[in-house]
């Protein structure tokens, strides 16, 4: 079909504007993180008399560049998000298998409450959770933070993996049964390999929500030892002399892990996220 040239140009203008709206903040941050402080504060866009440099990144990694114990925060974030992911996905695989393959009483009621639970106000739940962790002596510990992050990822993760399990033909289970495999072996040897994309997407989601969480860490972490990157980034603003060079570099570093993971798994993630919304 032929379109008029003017409509085609309009479409390109719309596409470019929307894409630029998304990308400009990234580009500006990324570019600024390589400029000298004097260039950043010259009020000029392209003037870089001393060239571009990676000094800010060095500062951040060496001394924190006025950003506190940056390496420590980074390590905490990686550790907490990785453990959260492993725990969430393990629980989800079993939960999803049970909900997908067994006839249980109250199954529908449970699925509904699970969906509902994803929508409780976290600012409310964090109050009693603080009390609970306090009585378990888990305030300011990795375990306490991971405990709260599990619930950020779990409902969606079970829902997603269950969807993939439901898509694995029941005939495969039955064939495995005839071969003498029990339910557990059937899950590991037959269903999991087929539903691998679902596991990947659920892992990514759990990692992402844990990596990005500010609310729970801000309440449960009480010292440098357990602070994560989002808390660290926010702390920079507290200082009177805001070191923008270091903050920009630190922010770039804070977004790289999830962007890297996303770009590697992009096709699966987009498919996994949208299939839920389109098929229900």
């Amino acid at each position: 079909m032929h379109q008029k040239k003017s409509t085609l140009i309009l479409k390109y203008i719309a596409l470019i504007s929307l894409t630029m709206f998304i990308l400009v903040p990234f580009i500006w941050l990324f570019y600024s993180s390589f400029r000298t402080e004097s260039a950043m504060f010259s009020g000029k866009f392209f003037e870089n008399p001393n060239g571009l440099m990676i000094k800010h990144y060095f500062n951040v990694f060496q001394s924190g560049g006025g950003t506190g114990n940056f390496i420590g925060y980074f390590k905490n974030s990686i550790l907490i998000a990785s453990i959260t992911t492993i725990v969430v996905v393990t629980i989800s695989v079993f939960g999803a298998y049970s909900l997908s393959r067994f006839q249980l009483k109250f199954k529908n009621a449970f699925i509904i409450t699970m969906l509902l639970s994803n929508m409780f106000p976290w600012v409310l739940l964090v109050i009693p959770i603080f009390g609970l962790l306090f009585s378990m002596n888990l305030i300011d510990s990795y375990a306490g933070i991971i405990f709260t992050h599990i619930i950020l990822g779990l409902p969606f993760s079970i829902w997603l993996i269950k969807g993939y399990f439901d898509g694995v033909p029941k005939e495969l289970d039955e064939a495995a049964m005839i071969d003498g495999l029990g339910p557990f072996q059937t899950l590991i040897k037959v269903i999991l390999p087929v539903a691998a994309p679902g596991i990947v997407v659920a892992s990514f989601y759990s990692f992402m929500v844990s990596w990005g969480d500010f609310l729970f860490v801000s309440v449960i972490s009480q010292s440098m030892a357990t602070k994560t990157l989002p808390i660290g980034l926010n702390n920079f603003f507290g200082s009177t002399q805001v070191a923008w060079g270091s903050i920009n570099a630190a922010t770039v570093i804070s977004i790289i892990p999830t962007i890297l993971l996303f770009s590697m798994l992009q096709k699966w993630i987009v498919e996994g996220l949208t299939s839920g919304a389109v098929k229900g």
Partner: protein
């Protein structure tokens, strides 16, 4: 379907970790928050039962209603802008344009990064003299308009709406685009034969066929926006002069700046009731498709 008694027991057993996690992290805290909302629990005193006092205090507090209104306006503005722009993006992705593969690849990035990083990024963008926005204004001769946008009573709120749109619009785009691809081509071919205009095709074919994905993304984001705390807390903290205060930030401050847990719980329970209405709506949508 595995269906004998012995196996069913196994079914319950492997559901146990899930049940335990939900019980400990969702149901127990919810019940405890509900009970706490009828007490004067705080860091200063042992909790004792005070009936509906917290609720009466909250409902009579004009600041609560201001935050309630802000939340409401934020949800409506953010979600409708996200939907309109997301739909536009989805329609463009569905066109035969150059460079789309690259666009599809990059637009989801705002969604995967921490909100705290997004806030730094926007703060750097709107900084008084050296932020990109103010530099551009100065260069095109609109220097008198420059300001610290987050610090301005009239612009902080719109800026927060923009951050929400920036983060979530791509999700709408990708979801609606997936929906667009599932509409059979011959619907449009038939409409072409009848000589339907592009607008007619959009309103009579595209929109009705996107009803289900549209409702899902809208309800999900209504709840997400309602619940979101870090965008506002990290960028303006509810200021300047309370102009961006929402329920989530008000509850957080009541609990963690003033340590009035009972009072904060009552506010949270009220917020939960409002969200519950949307949630039930969402569940009905999801279940009706089975």
């Amino acid at each position: 379907m595995i269906n004998n008694k012995k196996n069913n027991l196994k079914g319950y057993l492997i559901l146990l970790p899930t049940l335990l996690a939900f019980g400990l992290i969702i149901f127990y805290p919810t019940v405890r928050a509900f009970i706490q909302s009828f007490t004067n629990a705080s860091i200063y005193n042992e909790a004792s039962f005070i009936g509906l006092e917290n609720y009466i205090k909250v409902l009579n507090n004009p600041e609560f209603w201001t935050a309630f209104m802000h939340t409401f306006v934020l949800v409506i503005l953010a979600v409708s802008l996200q939907y309109i722009l997301g739909m536009a993006m989805a329609l463009l992705l569905n066109e035969d344009l150059k460079g789309l593969g690259w666009v599809k690849y990059t637009i989801m990035i705002p969604w995967v990064i921490p909100v705290a990083s997004t806030v730094v990024m926007f703060d750097w963008l709107v900084l008084p003299d050296y932020g990109l926005i103010n530099m551009i204004l100065k260069n095109i001769g609109l220097g008198h308009l420059t300001r610290y946008w987050f610090g301005d009573k009239n612009f902080a709120f719109p800026l927060i709406v923009i951050m929400h749109v920036w983060r979530n619009m791509p999700f709408y785009a990708i979801t609606l685009y997936a929906g667009l691809k599932s509409i059979p081509k011959y619907y449009y071919e038939a409409a072409d034969i009848d000589g339907a205009s592009a607008w007619h095709k959009f309103f009579y074919i595209t929109l009705p066929n996107l009803k289900y994905p549209s409702m899902i993304v809208i309800v999900l984001h209504v709840l997400w926006t309602f619940n979101n705390f870090d965008f506002i807390y990290l960028s303006t903290g509810g200021g300047p002069v309370g102009s961006t205060e929402v329920l989530a930030t008000q509850i957080y401050q009541t609990a963690w700046n003033y340590y009035e847990y009972g009072h904060a719980s009552a506010m949270g329970i009220l917020m939960m009731l409002v969200m519950m209405v949307f949630s039930i709506f969402y569940i009905r949508l999801v279940r009706s498709d089975d």
